[in-house]
């Protein structure tokens, strides 16, 4: 239950951050998710996967179900990619989101871990 709530909040953060602020929003949302789960490792995983999935879903919707299916092919031809290779551009988009959300999640989780420890255990 606790994990489900964490996932739900992570997704909410990522969606809001990504939609309104792009990659930097994904990073901030990832940080919030990391803070929520209190773990740098889990923060990375959850932030990265949520951000990547969000960008993938949006890209697929825009390409297949949206009003601009030609744009992916057009960008592909600009990059000298044809056929299924144009999806490499979507992959780049997904990777950008993955690392933005992931690094944000890592930072948020690590920050909370450090800050939540008693002062006596801190080495700083």
């Amino acid at each position: 239950m606790r994990h489900s709530m964490q996932w739900l909040l992570t997704i909410a953060f990522i969606v809001l951050g990504g939609i309104f602020f792009g990659a930097i929003g994904l990073a901030v949302a990832g940080a919030a998710a990391g803070w929520l789960v209190n773990s740098g490792k889990r923060g990375f995983g959850m932030g990265a996967s949520a951000a990547a999935i969000l960008w993938l879903v949006v890209a697929v919707i825009k390409t297949i179900g949206g009003k601009s299916p030609q744009l992916l092919a057009l960008a592909g031809s600009f990059a000298n990619l044809a056929g299924a290779k144009v999806w490499l551009l979507v992959l780049i988009s997904v990777l950008i989101a993955f690392f933005a959300g992931g690094l944000g999640g890592w930072l948020g989780g690590s920050l909370r871990q450090v800050m939540s420890k008693p002062a006596s255990q801190r080495t700083m």
Binding site: I24, S68, S77, S93, R122
Partner: protein, 838 residues
């Protein structure tokens, strides 16, 4: 892991990563922005697709405007008040063609390098140093701001800026995202920049420096023979002349058809000897630019329906988006349909309820160079014996990714001072003297008769055009409008000397002396420009050929576009029958070549007594024998003929006009070569100077024809069916920035250089930019097709949705509505309501 590191590591990595993805990579945009699916390349620009209905408030409006966009994306605009039409046009242009408009304005302002980088610096330098921007600015500073045309420009500006004010970066056209910059705010003078850009496209042409170079290398007799003045044209635009129109009051020998062409080559060149010059190295400089056009019209008496009909297809460079944006504009005082240029509010070519008009380029020589001697400090120059100060301004051109480039812009009394290969010239160009042509089109849009039409053209300066006219009463006419400089013929055959007070240029004392009866500015008065109204033959036509017959007493150029399209139009319209709308369309698509019908028999005659043993050559000759001289894509003969013609021109002239070290001189015009073929088969010019034998025309034809067949054999193989024209002759159209993948795929193209459906060269990069035919009956009927489509957004549904029809020679019926109900609901793709602020 130490706690400090536990925090610092992700902080550093995240900060570094964000820095990395939010910065551009060379010419590529920041990946975080470009690959963001909600804001980057996958997010379509505003206007990319059409919503079913939009409503918005536009503060600049005085009344409501309803816009119905049809299935081709053509807007049918209905405004409660005429003064609001320009605002609606501005909104639509910005929505559909924002980047195109920005690119043109930046070109003229010398601000391309700011967004494109150092590669665009030569263009920026060219436009600034040659005075385009300054001339437009000066013209705009001098306009009567109370004139309705200027007020329309302000409204138009407001419409564009209203669109911009609502545009978020996510909705920018794709090109802005690729280049990573934001759209610039529109200013009224941007419209003057656009028209200046078109003037450059159409009238920035001179062969003077090429002549100077020829005069340094060839004997005068040779030049007189091969570069004769085009006095007699087989089909001038105004064959009947206008003795009643032009009243010569000054001594003809000074600038007339006699007395000068026989001695000017004897004059010393402005520069002696051979020298490098990029302008004069153009071997095709003798021909007018490949940009041309056709227009023609029949009056009521010649029309099958009894209503006047007009046809126009302007030939421009093919690009996507195309120059033209089609509109249907309605308000209480004005109803007009036709093609606009994004960047200007009015219809440039089209019709209203009363008249229709079109245009072709007039190949007048309106660009003259005068060698100018600068004083040692470079601050002044010697003009007509006096040391006159120059206007010098320092300019910094911003360059993306590097320090600004500093240049100096110099103006003399004659015009901008430019350096061509180490020599300073002052240039005189009519385009520098104008800038308010938008006023002309504002008035044309509202003209109701020939008198209004000519009154509007009276203010027209550049680029000179042959304006064709028809009206609802059945009249037909043509008026060649623009500033026609009064000058001596020598000005077309070499640069003048700015320090010589006897040389004439517009406004100079010499020009005033020459034509004291004419306007002091030094241009032919409007009334004396070539024109005709209801000629006896019942039709008018122009195809960039020489406008006037030999008895027109003013010199305005030495050579014009080859007259063969004009010959063909006259052939089609002179037939003893009435002309219909369908005939007009068929004529626009005509691919019969008058030149091929002349030259092909020469090829066949050359082989008549020859023993042809090569089977491929024999088959190629058979193909030509069976040919009807139509350049259809499914024929083989056009490929053979075209290859031969290209190699023939080169084969005859290259040996004379190319030196061993690779330098090229201007070739004689094509009309000269064709005249030699027809009239002087034993001319010395057919001899190959590199062989001991003396060849004549037939010998060279056999030699070059065999070579051309060999080249086709090498390219396409032995089977002649593989030589079809569709394999050989294709149309190309790049995106205006030449972005890969944003243009069209090369497609088979019929026609050739001299067919009405013009398609010059093997790789066809120019031709009809649109085709329009309109019959001024009741109701007005017409057909139209645009090269490309309405939208300027690559990949958008209307970006190139008319290409297939254009290639297939198909048209779309024009729907010139009288009210919004005239547009069937099924035809409406989008409705836009623009409302004033209450």
């Amino acid at each position: 892991m130490p706690k400090t590191l536990k925090i610092l590591l992700p902080v550093i990595l995240l900060a570094g990563y964000l820095f990395f993805i939010y910065r551009p990579f060379g010419s590529l945009p920041p990946p975080a922005k470009f690959f963001d699916p909600l804001r980057g390349f996958l997010q379509p620009a505003a206007g990319f697709t059409h919503a079913s209905s939009i409503e918005m408030t536009m503060p600049a409006l005085k009344g409501s405007v309803k816009i119905l966009l049809d299935r081709r994306g053509v807007p049918h605009v209905f405004a409660e008040r005429a003064e609001d039409l320009p605002a609606a046009a501005g909104y639509l242009h910005a929505r559909e063609r924002l980047f195109q408009m920005e690119l043109i304005v930046r070109s003229i302002k010398g601000r391309l390098a700011e967004v494109l980088g150092a590669a665009a610096l030569p263009s920026d330098r060219f436009f600034l140093e040659n005075g385009f921007r300054d001339a437009a600015d000066r013209a705009m500073a001098a306009v009567d701001q109370s004139h309705p045309a200027y007020q329309a420009l302000e409204k138009y500006t407001a419409g564009i800026n209203h669109f911009l004010s609502q545009l978020s970066p996510a909705d920018y056209p794709l090109e802005y995202k690729l280049l990573n910059f934001s759209p610039s705010r529109w200013e009224p003078q941007n419209s003057a920049y656009l028209l200046k850009y078109m003037a450059r496209e159409l009238s920035w042409h001179s062969s003077e420096l090429a002549f100077d170079r020829l005069r340094g290398a060839f004997a005068p007799e040779i030049l007189q023979e091969l570069f004769p003045v085009e006095n007699a044209c087989p089909a001038p635009i105004y064959p009947g002349l206008f003795r009643d129109v032009f009243i010569p009051r000054s001594p003809a020998p000074l600038w007339g058809t006699a007395g000068w062409q026989n001695n000017w080559f004897q004059q010393p060149p402005t520069r002696g000897g051979d020298y490098e010059n990029e302008v004069s190295h153009d071997r095709d400089a003798a021909e007018a630019p490949i940009i041309g056009s056709n227009n023609w019209a029949v009056g009521a008496a010649k029309s099958a329906s009894g209503h006047a009909i007009l046809a126009n297809d302007p030939h421009l460079g093919h690009s996507l988006p195309n120059y033209w944006y089609e509109v249907d504009l309605h308000a209480p005082d004005v109803e007009v349909y036709g093609m606009t240029l994004p960047g200007a509010p009015d219809v440039i070519l089209g019709f209203n309820r009363h008249i229709a008009w079109g245009a072709t380029n007039s190949d007048w020589d309106v660009l003259d160079y005068y060698k100018i001697e600068l004083e040692a400090s470079g601050q002044s120059a010697y003009i007509e014996g006096r040391n006159e100060p120059l206007q010098i301004s320092a300019e910094k051109i911003p360059v993306k990714g590097q320090a600004p480039e500093e240049i100096k812009i110099r103006w003399s009394r004659l015009g901008p001072v430019v350096n061509r290969d180490g020599v300073d010239y002052a240039m005189r160009w009519t385009g520098h003297l104008s800038g308010d042509e938008y006023r002309v089109f504002h008035d044309l849009n509202r003209a109701q008769n020939f008198s209004d039409f000519t009154a509007a053209l009276r203010n027209y300066a550049a680029p000179a055009q042959n304006f064709v006219y028809v009206d609802r009463v059945g009249n037909v006419g043509m008026y060649s409008a623009g500033l026609m400089p009064i000058k001596t013929a020598a000005r077309s055959f070499g640069a003048g000397d700015a320090n010589d007070s006897t040389q004439a240029w517009p406004g100079s004392p010499a020009a005033d002396r020459i034509l004291s009866a004419m306007r002091p500015e030094g241009f032919v008065p409007f009334e004396n420009l070539p024109h005709v109204f209801n000629p006896p033959e019942g039709f008018v036509e122009s195809a960039n050929q020489k406008p006037t017959p030999e008895n027109y007493p003013i010199f305005y150029n030495w050579s014009f576009a080859a007259p063969y399209r004009g010959v063909r139009i006259r052939e089609l319209l002179s037939a003893d029958r009435k002309i219909s709308l369908d005939d007009m369309k068929a004529a626009q698509l005509d691919v019969h070549s008058v030149v091929a019908s002349t030259l092909t028999p020469v090829i066949l005659a050359a082989f008549a007594k020859a023993n042809v043993t090569n089977a491929t050559i024999a088959a190629a000759l058979d193909s030509l024998r069976a040919w009807d001289f139509n350049f259809y894509t499914n024929r083989v003969a056009p490929t053979i003929y075209h290859t031969f013609w290209e190699m023939f021109k080169e084969g005859i002239w290259a040996k004379h006009f190319q030196t061993a070290d690779g330098k090229t001189y201007m070739y004689p015009p094509r009309r000269v070569l064709l005249a030699l073929v027809k009239e002087q088969p034993d001319s010395k010019w057919f001899d190959n100077p590199k062989t001991p034998a003396v060849e004549n025309l037939h010998a060279r034809v056999r030699e070059i024809f065999a070579a051309s067949v060999t080249s086709l054999y090498d390219e396409f193989g032995a089977d002649l069916s593989a030589w079809r024209y569709e394999k050989y002759h294709k149309v190309y159209a790049d995106h205006i920035l030449r972005l890969p993948g944003f243009g069209i795929d090369p497609a088979p193209r019929d026609g050739e250089d001299f067919t009405l459906n013009v398609a010059g060269g093997r790789e066809v990069t120019h031709g009809p930019s649109m085709r329009l035919v309109v019959e001024m009956g009741d109701p007005i009927r017409g057909y139209i097709v645009n090269f490309g489509g309405q939208s300027g957004h690559p990949g958008a549904p209307h970006y190139q949705d008319q290409i297939d029809e254009w290639l297939a020679g198909k048209y779309f019926p024009i729907r010139f509505a009288t009210n919004p109900q005239d547009i069937p609901q099924a035809e409406i793709e989008e409705t836009v309501y623009l409302k004033p602020k209450r």
